[in-house]
Amino acid sequence: MPAFINPTILAHLVLIFVVMNLLVLSSAFMVWMERKVCAYIQDRVGPNRVGYEGALQPFADVLKLLFKEELRPKAADAFLFAIAPILSTVAALTAFSVVPFGTETTLFGLLSEPLRLEVTDVNVAVLVIFAITSMGVYGIVLAGWSSNSKYSLLGGLRSSAQMISYELSYGLSLAAVVMLAGSLSLREIVMNQSGYWFHVIPKWYIFLQPIGFFIYLTAGVAETNRAPFDFPEAEQELVAGYHTEYSSMSFGLFFLAEYVNMVTVSAVATSLFLGGWLGPLLPDWLGWVWFMIKVLAILFFYVWMRWTLPRYRYDQLMEFGWKWLLPAAVLNLIATAALVIWLG
């Protein structure tokens, strides 16, 4: 065996493989959950033919998409049209790589050095997530532009304007947590939330930053282009927005990116505000179970919100983002900074 293939590197490669595949699988699960929850909210049964309670429905959908013909509008910019969905998916999958989802493990003594349950530990993880999410805009803008169709272009413009507007509030709510934790590393931010107040209330940042949490969740919905902020694909006005002209698996990639982005936003919210993998009852090495429970809870909230709230009007969205959410985020940041300095 060559020297550079040591168990630690091998374990990391396996970890990357597992995490990426779990992300793709989780988006399949999310599609199923979305359809099931929406069905029950609308007093229907939802998919129940393929697999147990329709659990294999997403896989059937993907198979169907794979066999569809790949169409491209004649006047489309062929190269940009092809890379736009890839950019979206890559950005979505990459952002998760800095999210820690558990403590260290040696896999029951198999490894000499403990392996941290995350793809990579960067000391500027929060900024990395912010950077990669801001890259995700390009996939959508390019898709909208390169399709050379009115609906696509309008959808692309709308969604990028929306993502840029809400990115500010999103970043400011992250900054407040960073100030509390005094670190940009997600692992350290999670570790700072260990312990309890009065032996009962966990020291999660959601209790110190309720406004920040609200801003993060709202901006997160806008960032992932989901209802009630799903203007980029407002069906009644724009057919399907930026991906109107996409078919087959390139459409599938946009779909995948949307759900992976949701998972990432929820995972980051879990790490920043809900104490990540920390939780009572379970032993340390099972922390990832807590992590999954919390992420699932936020994801369920997303789905619940989508099928309960009607879509805003576009000017309302912009007004809300700039006139309410952003000032609230700024005030929250200033108040947090003042308190952090005052209390030392």
């Binding site: 940009l80 900024l127 805009v137 390009y138 803008v141 390019l142 532009w145």
Partner: protein, 171 residues
Amino acid sequence: MDLNTIGFFVFGAIAVLASLGVIGQRNPMHSVMLLIVSFGALAGLYILLDAPFSAVTQIIIYAGAIMVLFLFVVMLLNAHTEADALPQVIGPRGMQIGAVLSVLLAGEVVWGLSRLGLTWFGNDPATIANISSVSRIGIAIFTTHAFAFEVTSILILVSMVGAVVIARREH
């Protein structure tokens, strides 16, 4: 060759080739995308220099925020070739002025670099990590370079107000 050297040449080649592509081909949309690629490669170089913070800010500010604005302008002009994007006023005279300006800029860069002494931070990873740490950069910006920082902020604010004023005048 170690990994750092290989990485340097790979990212350096990507940055140079992408930059050549930006000015070398005529589709403005592709130019914007190539410029983003070039910024990404620069960020890669920063990571190789053990400066993850600079790398990430490079992506957030240049590749993320500024280039989106560029993209918007190109999209709203609906320019499929460079000729569509160029206003009519830029003729051969514009080309000449551009050439003079670029020579001046190149001269300025060379002059600036020759004035700048190189500081060797040593090979100690702890020192390097300390120098590129976010808190060190923050303290330096808000104490030593506070004046320059504030002046830059005002400059940006002024240009922003100017843009708003120009945009409002049409109504």
